[in-house]
Subunit: 410 residues, 2 copies
């Protein structure tokens, strides 16, 4: 069994100025490859701390992967820490220097003198080429432990992990059969999703968890060991069966906006948008999907009542009677947008994002979404006692989810 | 000097299914309070691993803060690990149980039998009330080391850190004088910002770093020790002087959209939007700011050429001649939107988000933004060889930044 411990260096993480996305990326890719991730450590650039972290990690795992600390400055101490752990000197390595020079030739400028540090290699360590930056990686063994040092910039780290680390692991074996799956859902809160699959979440294998993400909820599954793929697929099928229409996709990339664009393209329908509360977010989520232009030509943000009347033709008397945050106005916005927007379907949002109630006393978090089609108009009322941005985000997801459900109906 | 080491538990982080935002939040708040954060460790729920992590952390820091592992299930082992480290038994604690019961009375449902685990307390440890959830926190000392155990859900963890941990630290002293500052910038790439303050970034104190975030670039400063506030403020003044018009604000919350809304409100101007490439993102960023309705009434997403012509009055012959992604069309979109949108200013975006070039062969990443006012129209051309979502995000920031610069001019 291949066990892995990660050591990430960097004061920016310790000061809380950046979130440690390298650790999450590495943990996911190592797990999906079939390794067992035992721990993640983050330390600063103190040499003793780094050495201690490497030693601790080596007690826990057969492979220790270090990110960061390979730059050209004196704060970059991962090379020295590795040399100390191996008990060997750091030596100037001509091959490593050639790699640094090649990078600068491609970049069209000469290396600075301090770049010379990046060609220092602990005696006996292997140099890993870095095509994307100046810092070569390093690989060395001590007894049964392998140390891998990768640069900190995410693009370089990811490219080198894929190129140098994963192929070695696959060649050497020791990886579990592993199947990692996701079921994306929309339209139900996490608590409802979790309640429907509580027994699956409690079972030891596959591991099943719910993860809310920007208003949608992912159900993630991880099966390991013999027949992992078959067990994961069987559990996915059961999750999909139980969650029914809440399921958006079983594909990592396909979230609610992608599902809506795919359905619109498959059915050759065009959507338009009329957004008050969400202020353009629904259109933005649609336009973020490649190929959206086949399914979306344009829409309106009608934040003020006058815009709802002028752009969408909503009767000002209706707004005066029911208020802009009402079922009747949501329906009228969607119907007006569909007629004026040269579209088959229109989705509308209106609500109170907060922090306070609106001028008529409608509570913050009250949201109406409506979807108009030639066959009629669907409406949903949501009550979201949440912060402003969360209300807007959840409302946009609910609006797209209502489009999805209407499209699925026929 | 108060040194802190964090231990976060949770398989979801080790599998890469969630990014460790608890660690970033804690690191930032501890640093800003004047503590020195030495390390962050993430481990799973194996009791030996947890005990080892607590011991390692205790060797590095006088305060060890653990998050997670306080739930009611058998996988929640932080209580046991603490008891093991302290060398004391776990005992049923009536006060802790009373706290759990109080939570369930408020929640209007009875505690499950397994909740009883949450009232187990290592002998001699102090129970920290949790008003937001079921898991009480724990605090215990061993020699010079203080261990603090907080629940994993971020809202509960944050509330308890503020309520139980920070006041104790302040009362006990040992905190550095600390001044943490940010200078938000827009309109220049990170490399240009960094080049202008390179010497400040190289100086040992205050620590200065650049952090790109969703198309804007933060310059973050941290000064510690005597006169930290004065040194931080002097450096902020120097950064602001050097970066000039790129500076959006020196306030954590005020990013480019906030600055635009504040300027519009102060000058009693109304903005409208005409978005092609950004698909509603500019409007969405404006509407995310509380109070936006005073400065923004509505706008258009004109993704298709027909919408640009019909909604904004852009001459179809112009689109045919120059293409939709052109300076002339960007200007015409902004001018049309201003006239039809009942607004003082209008901002327009058009471009190729990619991945490929458009039908006329305009390269992905080509972006035109324009801002129309009664005094004339400003235009910017950007070339952003970046992924689709990044192009859209950078274009939206550039559009808002051009509005900001036009407003500052008069």
């Amino acid at each position: 069994m291949r066990t892995v411990a990660f050591v990430t260096t960097g004061h920016e993480v310790l000061r809380g100025h950046t979130v440690n996305t390298n650790a999450a990326w590495l943990a996911r890719h190592a797990t999906d490859a079939g390794a067992r991730v035992r721990s993640v450590r983050t330390v600063g650039d103190d040499l003793d701390d780094l050495v201690a972290a490497l030693e601790e990690a080596a007690r826990e795992a057969s492979t220790v992967v270090v990110t960061g600390g390979l730059g050209p400055t004196e704060d970059d101490r991962s090379r020295e820490a590795l040399a100390r752990v191996l008990g060997v000197p750091l030596e100037d390595d001509p091959a490593a220097w050639a790699g640094v020079e090649r990078y600068f030739v491609r970049a069209g400028r000469p290396p600075a003198p301090m770049q010379r540090r990046q060609a220092l290699v602990p005696r006996g360590a292997e140099v890993l080429d870095n095509d994307e930056g100046t810092a070569p990686g390093l690989l060395a063994r001590r007894g049964d432990t392998t140390f891998v040092l990768l640069p900190g910039p995410p693009r370089e780290m990811q490219a080198m992990f894929r190129r140098h680390v994963l192929p070695r692991w696959r060649a050497q074996g020791g990886l579990d059969e592993t199947a990692s799956r996701v079921v994306w859902t929309a339209g139900a809160p996490e608590s409802e999703i979790a309640a429907a699959i509580e027994d699956l979440m409690r079972a030891p294998e596959p591991v099943v968890g719910t993860h809310p993400d920007e208003g949608e909820v992912a159900v993630r599954l991880l099966a390991r060991g013999p027949a992992a793929v078959a067990r994961a697929d069987a559990t996915v099928a059961e999750v999909v069966r139980r969650l029914g229409a809440h399921v958006v996709s079983t594909d990592e990339e396909t979230r609610v906006a992608h599902a809506v664009v795919a359905l619109l393209r498959a059915r050759r329908r065009v959507l338009t948008t009329a957004e008050s509360l969400t202020g353009g977010l629904v259109a933005r989520m649609v336009c973020a999907v490649p190929g959206a232009s086949e399914a979306f030509r344009g829409g309106w943000v009608t934040y003020a009542d006058a815009w709802k009347a002028r752009a969408l033709g909503v009767d000002p008397a209706l707004i005066a009677r029911d208020g802009a945050v009402s079922e009747a106005v949501a329906r009228a916005m969607a119907e007006g947008a569909r007629q004026r927007g040269d579209a088959d379907l229109a989705v509308a949002t209106t609500g109170v994002a907060g922090p306070g109630p609106d001028a008529r006393g409608v509570e913050a978090g009250t949201v109406h979404v409506a979807v108009a089609t030639p066959a009629g108009t669907d409406h949903r009322l949501l009550r979201l006692p949440l912060p402003r941005l969360t209300v807007q985000r959840r409302a946009a997801v609910a609006a797209l989810d209502l489009v999805r459900r209407v499209l699925l109906r026929g």
